[in-house]
Each structure stands twice: as C-alpha cells, then as structure tokens.
C-alpha cells in the first residue's frame, strides 16, 4: 500500500514542487496541506488530495495528519514568528500523537547567522535580530525537543533555493536584470552564492524520507557549485538571452542604495497604515497606477544594505554530511538549472523573450 504523506506549505515554492514530484514519481498518496484554499492553484493541477492545514490550528493539523505515515514540513509565512515557531510546535506534537513514521523539517542556513568560511552542521546557532532566522532557530529547538521524545525527524537546512516559482533568488533577480540599470557593481558581488536548485532540494528531501538517521539530526543542503554572486548574475543574464550586463559605477550604485533607504522605509510604513486607501486609489486612477508601478520597480531594482553585505560575504555551507549519511547528490549545476528557469520565466510572462 502506498505511504500517505502530508506536505505542509503545499501552496509555496518548495512545498508545491515536492507535491508535484511525489505525485509524479508514484508510490505516494500525497496530501497537499494549505493554509488558504486560494494557494492551492498550482498543486490542484495534479488532482492530488487537498487539506486545509493552518499549522497553528491543532484541530486542522490532527485532521490533515489522519492516516499519514510521512510528513514534510515546508510551511512558513515570511517573517511570521507565530507560524514558524508555534506552528511547528503544534505540527510536530500532532505528528508525534499520530505516530508518523518519518518527518522531514525544512529549516534554513540562516540559523548560522552571517557566518564566513566553511560552515558545517556543528556550527552554533547565531541570533541576528532578524525575525526569520531567529524564529527558525526556535523552530529547530522545538523540533529537537520533539525528537528527544521519540519523533523520527530529520532537519534539512537548504541554502539559497532557486528555480521556477522561486520569488527571492530567481524572479526578483531576473526582473532586475531585465529592468536595467544593473546597480550591483562587479566588485561588490565577489562573495559566495550558495545556490541550490529546487529539484536538488527535493532530491534531498526524498533521501531524508528514506534514510535511517538519528532523530533530530541536521543536514546542510547546498548545490554542486560555489559561484560568486556576480557569476550567478551573469549566468542568469546569459540564460535569459539578455545583452551583457552594463555595471553601474560603484559611486552611482552607493548613491542609489543610500537614496532609496528612506524611500523604502516611508513606502513600507505608508503601505502598512493606509493599504486599503492606496489600493482603492490604484484601482481607480490610471495616473496613480503608473506612478506606483514606476516607484515599486525602482525600489525593487535597487539593492538594499543587507543584500550588498550578503553579495560580498565569502562563505560555503558544506553538504558533505548529507552526501555521506543521506546519499544526497546534487544534479543541477547552473548550466543545467538556469535554462529550465529561463524557459519558465519566459513562459510565465516574467521576462520577455530576447
């Protein structure tokens, strides 16, 4: 009989891809857990079973886990600590009660803070004050507490996940490359870009579901290469068929970044306080629409201080432990992954064909 597997966050980038692969590979009875029905459009194409599963809601969690033998926890909501920490706690407690045979918890290399050099899994947690990374540390601690109570759970810490449907490291950079001017000087982007293609992460999840490892064991999941950020930008630019990058002068880039900081802060605060009014104005006035679109593109295309810091940092997250104990083997270097990504970006209307 097929194993029954629940994927939380099935409306998201990684969860949806996992549902697709599990369904297509066969041998699994897949339950796609979504917080809101509206996020199910991507996985609904496969006719898989859908379950409403807000991980903060113990009743919904218990229902979704009914008869489940395997669980992969992909659900996160941006910088929402309540979901990341308390939701994980509720879900893992539910899995323990339901007697789930194997759990994979998706974490992040952000639990290491902003490290330099080679990072192995025994590196200590580093709290940075950023909600996402700090909350993921707390979530890992909750998972490990549950592992100590007997939950057979494996923790995966993927690096920067890219590929089709990836908003942060795929769509955002593709749109910036298309928009021009390119505001990241080559010299500012010589740090390491620890990219892992989404299907390699899926391969790691499948391996973790199968492997017998100690409960609560954590694994870095990285791609097969360690390009610089600049090499990634150039490779993506090339895959999209765009003209070679024309770099901004460092002084121009610094000025743009500094000038944009107050604009970004004001826009964020205004949107938070007056979102309904702003949306009404957007809907009703063509002039307002044009202004807002232009302003949003400008903000989006200008790197912020955190990004510039990351572009320059030299760090490598080792996947050697995952290779050794899980049999993890990344198969998608940029040369294989980016043509697939570019085809998706064009077909989905994010970028225009060259």
């Amino acid at each position: 009989m097929a194993s029954r597997i629940l994927v939380t966050g099935a409306g998201g980038f990684i969860g949806a891809r996992l549902v697709e692969v599990l369904h297509c590979a066969g041998g699994w009875q897949v339950v796609a857990g979504v917080r809101r029905w509206s996020t199910a459009a991507r996985v609904a194409r496969f006719g898989v079973e859908l379950a409403q599963c807000d991980i903060r809601n113990a009743e919904q969690v218990a229902r979704a886990l009914s008869g489940v033998t395997h669980l992969v926890h992909c659900a996160v909501t941006g910088d929402d600590r309540a979901t990341i920490v308390e939701g994980t706690r509720v879900l893992m407690e539910g899995a323990l009660q339901a007697g789930v045979r194997k759990v994979v918890h998706l974490s992040t290399v952000d639990v290491y803070g902003r490290p330099e050099g080679e990072v192995l899994e025994d590196r200590a947690y580093a709290v940075t004050g950023r909600v996402y990374g700090d909350s993921k540390i707390e979530a890992e601690q909750a998972v490990r507490a549950m592992a100590a109570r007997g939950l057979p759970v494996t923790i995966l810490r993927p690096t920067l996940v890219h590929g089709p449907f990836g908003a942060t490291f795929t769509v955002a950079y593709a749109q910036r490359l298309q928009a021009a001017p390119w505001l990241v000087p080559a010299a500012a982007a010589q740090g390491t870009c620890n990219l892992v293609y989404v299907d390699d992460l899926i391969g790691a999840i499948l391996a973790a579901l199968e492997a017998r490892t100690a409960p609560g064991e954590a694994f870095n999941i990285n791609g097969p290469e360690r390009p610089s950020w600049n090499e990634y930008f150039q490779a993506l630019n090339g895959a999209l068929g765009f003209a070679p990058l024309v770099y901004a002068e460092p002084a121009q880039a610094r000025f743009a970044q500094k000038a944009m900081e107050p604009v970004r802060a004001v826009a964020k605060a205004t949107l938070k306080r007056l979102k309904p009014q702003i949306m009404a104005l957007y809907q009703r006035s063509e002039l307002a629409r044009r202004f807002m679109k232009a302003a949003e593109a400008r903000v989006r295309n200008t790197p912020n201080a955190n990004e510039l810091e990351a572009f320059g940092r030299r760090v490598s997250f080792s996947s050697a432990k995952a290779a050794r104990l899980l049999g993890y083997q990344p198969r998608f270097p940029m040369s294989e992954a980016l043509p697939l990504t570019a085809a998706w970006l064009r077909a989905s209307g994010f970028v225009l064909a060259p």
Binding site: W37, A41, R45, G47, H70, P164, D199, R331, S348, G349
Partner: protein, 336 residues
C-alpha cells in the same frame, strides 16, 4: 415605485465583494431581499448587514415568493438552480460562468422563453466603457480589416474561497477567468470563432495556465490565461487601418493608434458595474428594459470553452519534467 422582491442565493465571497457594496447603495432593494445560504449563520449575518427582510437556508423556500433571484453560488450549482428558478417563473441574474456546455445554456434559454422569465448573466467586462467603445470601433470599421487579437489575463489565484470548490471538477482558469476573456472576444468579433489550438497545464487536475488560439474569418486571436503568475494583463487588436491597445483593468480608456482615448468616467470600479446590472435587473423584471447580457448572449463563449476542454492538449513544460532526472540512475525506486 416599490423595489421587486428578490432573493440573494449564496452568501460567499462574490456576494461579499461585489453585491453587498452595490446593494448598500440601493436600500429599497436591499430591504426587500430574501438572503439564502445553507450556512444559516452566514445568511443571517448578511441579512443583518443589509437590513434585508428574511434569511433562509434553502433556495427552494423562495420559489413562488420572489420575482427575481441573484444566483451567486459556486459555479457547479449555477445550472440546476437557475433552471429550477426559471421553471417556477423567477427571473434570474446569474454570476458567470452561467454553464459548462452550450446545451446547458440552450436548456436555460428555452426554459426562460417557455416560462416568459428573463435570465441574465453577470459578464462584467462587457459593461466596461472601454469594452463597449472597442466593440463600437471594430463594428464601424475604424481598424479596417481585423487581423490579430491578443489578450493576456493572469495573476496568482487569490480569491478568498471558503471551500476548495474551485479546484474540483477539472475546470480551472479557462472556465473561471477565461469566460470573461473568451466572451469579450466573441462579442467583439460578433460570433463564435473556430478553435485552432488549445493547451493547458492540467496533469489530471484543474488547469491553472491556458493558451488558446482562435480564428474567425481573417482574424487570429491568441488568449493567455494564468492563475499562477501575473501576466501583462492587456489586450491588443490589430487591423489593416489601425491598432487598439488597452489594459485589462483599465475600465474606461485605451489607446487607439498610440493615442489615449477615454471611453467614459474614470474612477470606476467593479462594484459600479454590479450596481448598473442590479438596476437593469430590476428594470427587466418590471418590463421596462431588456437584459444587458442575456443567457443567450453567452452561448458562444460557453461553447468555445467546452470545446477547448474536449480538445485539450498538454502545455510543454520542460522545467516540470526535469524531476525525472532525480530518478535517472537509481535509488529512490520505492519509498519506505
């Protein structure tokens, strides 16, 4: 003149988002409403918020007691409820899409005719001033001989659905969103085009991306729809003498040969058109007007959509098929 007694059937997201704001501005109509929803608390809440006269849980309870009904239920209930209402002499304003097949539309039209009750459909995009002006220009030959029509409409699906009904039954973006675009194209071109090609991304479930190629006379029409990503959300119509370009959400203006052309009052939103439709529905019930969009008017679009599904081909998605490389040589043959 007193407002006709009308039932509002289905208190879900479409009622909340579009009909309630319009009804609030029509106090007489709102007060006379009978609100219907199988979830009594939902029905009662909407009754109270509109100051309506009554809330019930089954639409059959309004048969013989109302002159008209707004059918705002999940899509798959449109046909059976509309037919039953019409059979009992109740005029109907049904949300889009009216039906899945042309024969269902025919049955509704026939029933309405036999019972002498009007059946209308909310195809909001036909009411936009820009849409109406585009149709007029095409009909008057302002573009010369038409050659191409392109329409893209797409955004991540974000409808606040209370149930997964949208993802059941295997009819997705083409049926739900596409009915707006296909209907507009049929209306602009003045008939039912031939289907040259149809492909979508369904893999046994409900499609989220669809591409259609239609032909009518010498016109090639290309439609691209998505529930997954934001598309250009624009249309372009090219003729031998000129070109029209417009935004899908620009309700009142477009560009004719590169120059902006206003077709009506700016500052209009969806609810404004629902208000127009409600007024028209009240007038139609009173015998003072013809329906703005009747059931018969949408037959061509429903027929095109149903035929598309029958001829469905799979979209090519190499990024999807790459998962097979994970299993290329070995190990994850069985799970465990």
């Amino acid at each position: 003149m007193p407002a006709p007694r009308i039932a509002l059937i289905g208190c879900g997201a479409v009622a909340e988002a579009f009909y309630v704001p319009a009804l609030r501005k029509r106090a007489g109509l709102a007060r006379s409403l009978v609100v219907v929803d199988p979830d009594r608390s939902r029905a009662e809440k909407m009754r109270a918020s509109l100051g309506a006269s009554e809330a019930v849980t089954d639409y059959r309870q309004v048969l013989g007691r109302v002159a008209g009904a707004l059918v705002l239920t999940p899509h798959h209930l449109h046909v059976p409820i509309t037919l039953e209402l019409a059979r009992h002499g109740v005029a109907v304003l049904c949300e889009k899409p009216l039906a899945e097949t042309a024969s269902e539309v025919d049955a509704i039209v026939e029933t309405g005719r036999a019972q002498k009750v009007p059946v209308m459909v909310n195809q909001t995009r036909r009411l936009f001033p820009a849409s109406r002006e585009v149709r007029r220009l095409i009909a008057e030959g302002a573009l010369g001989e038409l050659r191409e029509l392109h329409y893209e409409l797409g955004a991540p699906f974000d409808w606040p659905a209370a149930t997964p009904a949208y993802f059941r039954g295997g009819r997705g973006v083409l049926f739900d969103t596409g009915v707006h675009v296909v209907d507009l194209v049929c209306w602009w071109l003045g008939g039912e085009p031939q289907i040259v090609d149809y492909a979508d991304d369904s893999r046994g479930g409900t499609e989220a991306v669809a591409r259609i190629r239609l032909r009518m006379g010498g016109v090639d029409a290309h439609i691209h729809l998505s529930w997954l990503t934001k598309l250009r959300n624009a249309y372009r119509i090219v003729g031998s003498k000129g070109c029209i370009e417009g935004g899908a959400y620009d309700l009142s203006s477009f560009r004719l040969n590169g120059r902006r052309r206003s077709a009506g009052r700016a500052w209009q939103v969806y609810e404004d058109f629902v208000a127009v439709l409600l007024d028209n529905f009240a007038d139609v019930i009173a015998g003072r007007a013809e329906p703005l969009v009747s059931a018969a008017d949408v037959r061509a679009a429903i027929s095109v959509i149903d035929t598309c599904y029958a001829q469905r081909k799979a979209l090519r998605e190499p990024w999807h098929d790459a998962w097979q490389r994970l299993f290329a040589q070995e190990r994850w043959a069985a799970n465990g």
